[in-house]
Amino acid sequence: MIKSKITLMQYIFLIHGVQMGVGVLTLPRELAENSGTDGWIAIIICWFLSIAASLVIIQIMKKYPNGTILDLLSHYFGKWIGKASHVIFALYFALLANVIFIREALFIQAWILPRTEIYIFILLLSIPSYLIVRKDISILGRYSELIFFMTLWIIIIYFIPLKHANWLHLLPLVKEGWEPILNTVKTSIFSFIGFEIAFFLYPFLQRKEKASMGIVIANTISLLAFLMITIGAFVFYSPDEITQYKEPTINILKVVEFQFIERLEIVFLSIYLFVISTTVLPLMFMTVFCTSQLAGKQDHKRHLFWFLLVECMFVVLFPPTYERNTILQQYIQQIGLILAFGLPLCLWGYVWLHGLFKRRAMQ
């Protein structure tokens, strides 16, 4: 049934790519608003939580290794729930892709080309998106893999502003108790959302016995990236200053200046579009994968075309603003929380009980 395969590396970087996206640009501010410079501890807690949820996902998928979550739900709960899950997942991924896609365009407008309309960016970015997503998952895997290694050098630039760092900002640890940190978990957990695409990637994976290891590595790479960026921002800005910037991650780079280049952040954000594309493209793929499965078609090209067209129409008819996008993002993140953490847990319990009763019945 499933022809194309992805390697372990591609699997890791697909998951990591979805986690690492536009959220990182605002993450230090959101953490600092809630728990000051202790926010980075919350990220580690979130990492534990997301690894637990990821491992549960892999455990569930092991019960039905040759199908995606959609096939699994149809298998256990019957055709109608299966169909409903197609719709739910398709809507979820579509909205998430939509939110991030528009946010990407908003960032471009705010930082790089302030006088160009949003829909032009969406139109422009739709072309490569269509070209990459129309093929099967292995092409997408190759893309994520390539982009990860191609943009790895950005980290080096990030170390340059650290010469202005004041490491005392981090001390004392846990200065206001654990309560604000635990409150921050609620916002920072969204950074890790994205590992739920493992529900769909698992059947495509070549060596399924490595799935658990792969998802842990993917989460850990994301953790390291988030930690580096947040700690970097915390020690660079003073604790009060950081909340004044919308995107502190980009603002840091304003101090970097070379002999041959000023305003590095413009170059950086342009290249960062690649990283954002590894978030948006898999989400788009999952959307059209769900809808084409629902329609019983192998080829998702046409669905993708319509999806992008609707996206463009949507942006033309309702010119997006940053505020509206943020509200929509908060809603979709709540759903994400349910699908990424709630669903695996419930499903695991059900599958476990199901197996238990089946064994009883057999005896």
């Binding site: 990459i132 190759r142 000023e262």
Partner: protein
């Protein structure tokens, strides 16, 4: 009604593809055969029909050949002379005593017709329904010379010629191995072209061979002019700017690729052979990379990839910065660019297009013109375009520098096809940059990557060691590791025998 009209339409005779097959068998009557030959080859003054009596059997016979392409000397010495004067009493065989190595027998007119056109001479014997084909071709050919396009410092100074069999010999000279197999296919209805696929049977992947054979057999045309034409018929994606099959005129390079597990298609009458499947990085390698020391080779190879990036993105980046993002460059540089652009009446993209197109025209003119006039082009390009255009205030100095840099950067790519591809890709990038600045460049780059990732060469991934990532193949990618460190063939060729060397590098002063 609509449907019936569409499907009932029959192709008119002029649209039908004539396949020129001459049906029928030869007859036992000599006169009948001669008439048939004369009717097939009418208006062919170089057709020689020589009647004779074979001394050995005392039977009537006729010898037929085309004097322009058959070797008359060997026909006289090795066919006519033995037949006419030697009685062959001492040999107890039925066969005619002709002192030639390659003798075939044919019964159908189709075979005979093809043999005559390939320079063979045909012997019809009275009361026999079989004709003898003596292979005596003598096509005009060129001597083996040094390579002209792909010159090399330390590699062999031998290039392929227009004779297919000689080209095969040049490859066989490099690989003395019985596993070197040759598959022959004929393509083209009218100008029948002999293709030979050379490969190592125990190394190369049979699936890829099947794919290659299938694609070549599907080519159903009148005539295939040369290797480039064939490559265009069998390549994977005709809408790609990148070449997906490598054409080379170097036997040593072709042999090296065979040893990697690839397939070399020798096309008769063409001085270059087709190598496939190839990956993107194949176009950035030369034979000199392997014969010079690894550090030098790696440095030059890195320069080529750098040149690739420069050639595609430098003019686009320049346009983007000047049009949209002038705050990105430092003030001093901005001022010097500004003062050089002060007098220029055009926006940067028009300036860039003028210069880039001029450069392309100069380059093309330099190739096509005879060497003596070619120098004039250089003078015109250097003085008129470079100097005068700047002084007249049509283009800025910086633009001339940018264009010159891109030109040099694109000339560093060793493969001509790939160099041309880069030059073409540059123009859409410039257009995107002039509309959307950096965002346009990034989107253009994404489109290029999307295309690069999904491209295939004979069904194997084109971007092989990069996307899909195959770390073990990186030993021979950007940095060429020392020869003793490369023990395996590249994964990108899907070879069935991976190991090609044993790690036996001598470290230090071992005994």
């Amino acid at each position: 009604m609509l449907f019936s009209r569409r499907y009932s339409k029959k192709p008119s005779p002029s649209q039908q593809f004539n396949d020129f097959v001459h049906q029928g068998q030869i007859s036992s009557d000599l006169m009948e055969n001669i008439t048939e030959i004369q009717s097939v080859f009418c208006d062919t003054p170089d057709l020689i029909i020589r009647s004779l009596v074979i001394k050995q059997t005392q039977s009537q016979a006729v010898l037929v050949y085309l004097s322009s392409i058959a070797d008359s000397k060997s026909i006289f010495n090795h066919v006519l002379h033995p037949l006419l004067f030697e009685d062959g009493q001492d040999i107890n065989t039925e066969a005619l005593n002709v002192s030639l190595g390659h003798i075939k027998k044919a019964t159908s007119w189709q075979q005979i017709e093809r043999a005559i056109l390939n320079g063979a001479c045909i012997l019809f014997v009275e009361k026999q329904t079989e004709a003898y084909i003596y292979d005596t071709p003598d096509f005009p050919k060129r001597a083996i010379e040094d390579t002209t396009i792909e010159s090399s410092l330390t590699g062999a100074h031998i290039g392929f010629t227009e004779t297919g069999s000689e080209n095969i010999a040049l490859i066989r000279k490099q690989i003395h191995n019985r596993e070197l197999k040759i598959k022959e296919i004929t393509v083209g209805k009218r100008g029948q072209l002999q293709l030979s696929i050379l490969y190592l049977a125990d190394v190369a992947n049979p699936d890829v061979l099947r794919e290659l054979e299938y694609r070549i057999q599907k080519v159903n045309v009148d005539s295939v002019l040369n290797a480039g034409v064939l490559a265009e018929y069998i390549e994977d994606n005709p809408y790609s700017p990148f070449p997906q099959l490598l054409l080379t005129e170097r036997p040593d390079y072709a042999a090296a690729e065979i040893l990697q597990g690839r397939f070399v298609t020798v096309v008769d009458r063409s001085p270059s052979v087709i190598i496939g499947p190839v990956t993107f990085d194949s176009f950035f390698k030369t034979i000199d990379d392997y014969s010079s020391r690894w550090m030098v080779a790696s440095f030059i190879r890195l320069m080529r990839y750098f040149g690739f990036i420069i050639a595609i993105f430098l003019p686009a980046t320049y346009i983007a910065i000047i049009t949209f993002h002038f705050e990105v460059i430092p003030l001093k540089l901005l001022l010097s660019i500004g003062s050089s652009r002060e007098q220029i009446p055009f926006p940067p993209y028009i300036e860039a297009f003028i210069m880039e197109l001029t450069l392309e025209m100069l380059r093309e003119a330099g190739i096509r013109l005879p060497a003596k006039i070619g120098q004039t082009v250089g003078i015109v390009g250097g003085i008129v375009i470079g100097q005068a255009a700047v002084e007249a205030g049509i283009v800025s100095n910086i633009m001339v520098i940018v264009v010159a840099l891109t030109a040099v950067a694109s000339f560093i790519i060793p493969n001509y096809e790939m160099g041309s591809a880069i030059r073409i890709v540059r123009f859409p990038m410039m257009i995107l940059a002039s509309f959307f600045g950096f965002i346009g460049i990034i989107v253009g780059f994404m489109i290029l990557l999307a295309h690069f990732i999904e491209l295939e060469s004979l069904g194997t991934p084109y971007g092989s060691p990069i996307a899909p990532l195959k770390i073990s193949d990186w030993k021979d990618l950007f940095i060429r590791f020392p020869q003793w460190a490369i023990e395996r063939r590249p994964l990108g060729t899907k070879a069935i025998q991976m190991k090609k060397a044993n790690a036996n590098h001598q470290k230090g002063d071992q005994q």
